[in-house]
């Protein structure tokens, strides 16, 4: 039954609903896959075998009682270890939260449970979602299923690797500067950063509150839409959650089309640092869009050149405050409490031992950027740039319906290559960051393999805030055209593990 793990989420749910498959069979097949390959991939930090099977049995019982099943009932999912779960530890990839069992479920976790999704376990990530390679996890790196010596992207590398290695048909990611889209791009999967406020952040451990956004990861555009619909919507527990209907993403994914649409190509999203094969596949995608009936419009968004700098002031600033609570006094790890040391000393020792280098680097950067005398020059200026970027997007969306770009300048790089060069690592998010700063929505989906290394390339589609459905409409059309061209899904070309 290896076929079960290759099914899309939509197909899986349909077969469970029709009785062709049971949720338990589906869950067992995925647990067996995890057993077989995850030692090599290391996508999961925690697998909840019993919990997953119990949830699957509950779905089967529901069906037997003749109850209506939701569109994702019984479908297994890999949850990024940044969302709190009452029944599973939540570590955020950090030693400082090792063994922490939260007393509450995140709103997103609760919505997955309400949708009868089967949560297989928690996936690996860069510590506190800070990174683009998952190498910053305190629990060791994750391998890219296309080449296990390469990175699966980050911070959500566990989730993208789980999808690409068929350990789960659905996964959840979070995207602060590209942590859903860049992993999707380098693993040949689909990832969506919804409009800021579209998916509740309650119970999602904060990195940078004004940028963080949870979202769906899948292997197809329709699966991503189904998951998007299940997790999105207003949450009274999150003040920044949007109190408006969820855009019709599933409907859009089912009726993919770009005919008559105006598609923008931004001048600033190419140039030095972009891999030739990535640009080649991107240019082909633009040609494809034209063939499909889209009008291509050249755009100039000068402020985008400043996005990375602004991001690396705002995100660390917010992180320096968000992570202040990790002091070892109330939960998680505590180091050096020998009964003689002061709370302050124990906190210092706990942080020294509990936080990794990248987290410490960003806390220091942010503390500096917020300090009096520097606030205006750093945090204040970055906020101004943010406004400029938002305006550039607004102007752009007066002329176009969506914008396309490469998701990330290069394909998956070897593990270790950029580990000691934070700046090189930060460049991976060059094309994704402007969207986080402006708060609008974006998707990455596969657009082929780079000729020089045979690794997946991602196409990014960017839509205005609250118009997430456009991503799915365009994404579904592109996906169908590529499927037609390639004759099979891209992931079929990945080596078997």
């Amino acid at each position: 039954m290896t076929d079960i793990i290759k099914l899309t989420a939509a197909e899986t749910a349909a077969r469970i609903a029709s009785g062709e498959l049971t949720a338990v069979e589906v869950t067992e097949a995925h647990l067996a896959r995890i057993e077989a390959v995850d030692e090599k991939v290391h996508a999961f930090l925690h697998v909840d075998r019993e919990g997953a099977l119990a949830q699957a049995r509950a779905v089967d019982a529901k069906r037997e009682r003749g109850e209506r099943l939701g569109p994702l009932a019984g479908v297994p999912l890999a949850l990024k270890d940044i969302f709190t779960t009452k029944d599973m530890p939540t570590t955020v990839g950090s030693k400082i939260l090792e063994g922490w069992l939260p007393p509450y479920d995140a709103t997103l976790t609760q919505r997955l449970r309400d949708a009868d999704v089967v949560i297989l376990g928690k996936t690996n990530m860069d510590e506190f979602a800070m990174g683009s390679s998952t190498e910053n996890s305190a629990y060791g790196p994750t391998g890219n299923p296309w080449d296990l010596t390469r990175i699966p992207g980050g911070s959500g590398g566990g989730s993208s690797a789980a999808l690409a290695s068929f350990q789960a048909p659905l996964a959840i990611g979070t995207d602060t500067g590209g942590s859903i889209r860049q992993p999707a791009a380098v693993t040949g999967t689909v990832g969506v950063k919804p409009t800021y406020g579209g998916v509740s952040r309650y119970g999602m451990v904060a990195f940078s509150s004004s940028l963080d956004q949870g979202g769906p990861c899948a292997r197809t555009v329709l699966d991503a839409a189904l998951l998007h619909e299940a997790i999105a919507g207003h949450d009274p527990l999150d003040s920044t959650s949007i109190d408006a209907p969820v855009p019709p993403v599933v409907e859009a994914a089912r009726s993919g089309s770009v005919a008559g649409m105006r598609v923008g190509v931004v001048k600033q999203f190419r140039g030095e640092g972009y891999q030739a094969g990535v640009l080649q596949r991107f240019d082909e995608s633009v040609e494809l869009l034209k063939e499909l009936g889209a009008e291509i419009v050249e755009l100039d968004c000068p402020s985008f050149d400043l996005a990375l700098s602004a991001y690396y002031l705002i995100a660390p600033s917010e992180c320096s405050s968000n992570l202040a609570r990790f002091d070892g006094l109330r939960y998680g790890q505590r180091t050096g409490d020998d009964g003689t040391r002061s709370a302050e000393d124990v906190t210092a020792l706990t942080r020294e031992a509990g936080f990794g280098d990248e987290v410490k680097r960003r806390i220091m950067l942010g503390t500096y950027a917020l300090s009096s005398g520097y606030y205006d020059a750093y945090y204040g200026s970055a906020q101004k740039v943010r406004t400029l970027i938002t305006r550039d997007f607004e102007k752009a969306f007066e002329q176009v319906d969506v914008i396309v770009s490469p998701t990330t300048p290069t394909t998956a790089f070897p593990i270790g290559e950029r580990a000691d060069d934070p700046m090189a690592m930060y460049l991976a998010d060059l094309c994704t960051i402007p969207t986080n700063l402006a708060g609008n929505s974006a998707m990455s989906l596969p657009c082929g393999l780079a000729p020089e290394d045979g690794l997946p390339v991602g196409l990014q589609i960017i839509a205005p805030a609250l118009k997430d459905d456009r991503l799915y409409k365009v994404g579904a059309a592109v996906e169908a055209a590529f499927l037609n061209r390639w004759g099979h899904p891209l992931l079929e070309e990945a080596p078997s593990l």
Partner: protein, 503 residues
């Protein structure tokens, strides 16, 4: 490292220096739930039983603003004649302390909800002093640390600390004055009157009980001196947690003397926080602010801006009660009492009780008489505040009604009050049970008067001879015979009538 400084006597200090004060008052709002979560704010619960992921600052938890908290802040702002921001944000004040779960306090920084106001306070002699208000902003309270094992209860010398987060997240409004200048020798009195007036105002608004002894209202006193006739402010000290009206006055007085001592000796004032000591009214150095503390404020990204509509603000303005000072002046005039009397009524906590008693039908003079006399005495003896006595304004009004109608005399009325306080029932029941009606049967009274005249022939003769004042002795005899249950005035009338003398 303790530097002993001679305190300069108050008057001497004022001869040289001009005090400048700044008062920061924190008021805990009486909302049912906390500022950013649904946890109860009730006092007295077991430690850490009124907490949740939000107020414990657990990873992933997010705040949601308490709308009643915002409403209360606006009401306070309006009552202080402040402008109300059309748009303002919360800010994070970053600092480390174990009783603060997130290691930042959600507060407001450069965008307070209310700003630029004033409060007129009345001093004991009736002079009105205007205290300018800089701002009133919303924030959350911290948890409570209890330091165990040390001698003083302070962290110094303690072996460990206990943390109770029940208080963490309780809504606070911080009200900050502009520098108060021009008070001169009256600075301690102004400070006290301001805090007292603010307390009355908060209570009148119904947003908090503002009980200082319960920590519902806490005051920090900033004080500096400048040589008389100069403009530039001196270096200030900040005396923290001065938590009674009397202490506010004493802290200002002490700091004036201390600052003057340091300055006179050619020293410089260190900008520092100081602790106030209730026992002797002194202050001692707390932590020295070597450099201005850097709280790294920035707008709270987890909350959306607060943008109270003008319509809502006007609706709230329309519901504001009469300001306490205005009300006091109105009542003082209505009751026809002096400023001094009014002050003692106020100090006794009797204003509202007297108002309620008059509203229940009593005239204000008798309401005042009872509450400030018999009842104040009883409260004093039992160590309770006046409003905690087991008697209602309506019951007091009934007693005074019975006196006015002649059914009770003063002495009997006191017994009725005593009965009500003892839990014997309402005034009518007590009258009934104790048999305390004035003897109004003219026949019985007449007999008693005749008997008294017969038994005291010599006195009766004096009265007949024009010594009307002697009638008192006969009245006494009659009252004695009727066991006090006669109306003394009527008895006197009857005596004079019988003896053919004009009263």
């Amino acid at each position: 490292m303790t530097v002993i400084t001679e305190l300069v006597p108050f008057d001497e200090a004022l001869a040289t220096y001009d005090p400048v004060m700044g008062l920061e008052v924190h008021v805990e709002l009486g909302t049912r739930t906390k500022m950013f979560c649904g946890c109860s704010t009730e006092l007295g619960a077991d430690p850490n039983t009124q907490t949740c992921p939000v107020c414990l600052g657990l990873p992933g938890a997010l705040p949601v603003v308490n709308a009643i908290g915002v409403e209360s802040a606006i009401k306070i702002g309006l009552a202080l004649h402040c402008e109300i921001a059309e748009w303002c944000r919360f800010a994070r004040k970053n600092y480390f302390y174990p009783d603060m779960p997130k290691n930042f306090q959600t507060s407001q920084y450069d965008e307070p909800i209310a700003f630029n106001g004033y409060l007129d306070v009345q001093l004991e002699d009736g002079e009105v002093f205007r205290v300018e208000i800089e701002r009133a902003h919303m924030e959350e309270d911290t948890g409570k640390s209890t330091h165990v094992g040390g001698a003083t209860g302070r962290i110094h010398g303690a072996s460990h600390s206990l943390l109770d987060y029940n208080r963490a997240g309780i809504p606070l409004i911080e009200i900050v004055t502009k520098p108060i200048t021009g008070a001169g020798a009256r600075a301690p009195e102004v400070a006290k009157a301001y805090v007292a007036e603010l307390r009355e105002l908060i209570r009148a608004l119904g947003v908090s009980e503002a009980r200082m002894e319960m920590g519902q209202m806490r005051c920090d006193v900033n004080l500096s001196l400048r040589p008389n006739g100069t403009e530039k402010f001196g270096t200030r000290s900040e005396t923290k947690n001065v938590n009674s009206l009397r202490s506010v006055e004493r802290a200002v007085r002490y700091e004036i003397g201390r600052h003057a001592g340091v300055l006179d000796a050619g020293g410089t004032i260190i900008q520092e926080t100081r602790h106030f000591h209730e026992d002797d009214g002194s202050t001692t150095s707390g932590r020295v602010k070597e450099e201005a503390e850097d709280y790294r404020y920035f707008p709270e990204p987890d909350l959306v801006p607060v943008a109270p509509s003008r319509e809502w603000v006007e609706e709230l303005r329309a519901t504001l009660p009469e300001l306490p000072r205005v009300r006091r002046n109105r009542l003082r005039e209505e009751w026809g009492v002096t400023e001094l009397d009014m002050q003692s009524i106020l100090n006794a906590g009797a204003v509202d009780l007297i108002v309620a008693t008059t509203e229940a039908g009593a005239d204000s003079a008798s309401a005042r008489k009872w509450w400030l006399g018999e009842l104040a005495r009883s409260a004093n003896e039992s160590g309770r505040p006046l409003d905690a006595l087991p008697i209602t304004p309506a019951q007091v009004a009934r007693v005074s009604e019975l006196v006015a109608s002649g059914d009770l005399n003063d002495k009997l009325a006191r017994q009725v009050i005593e009965g009500v306080l003892a839990g014997e029932g309402d005034p009518d029941t007590v009258v009934e049970k104790r048999g305390l009606k004035v003897v109004s049967d003219e026949g019985a009274l007449g007999t008693a008067v005749d008997e008294a005249i017969a038994a005291n022939g010599a006195i009766a003769d004096k009265i007949r001879g024009g010594k009307v004042a002697a009638a008192g002795a006969l009245v006494g005899a009659v009252m004695k015979a009727t066991r006090g249950q006669a109306d003394a005035a009527r008895v006197r009338e009857l005596i004079l009538e019988r003896l053919g003398v004009e009263g």
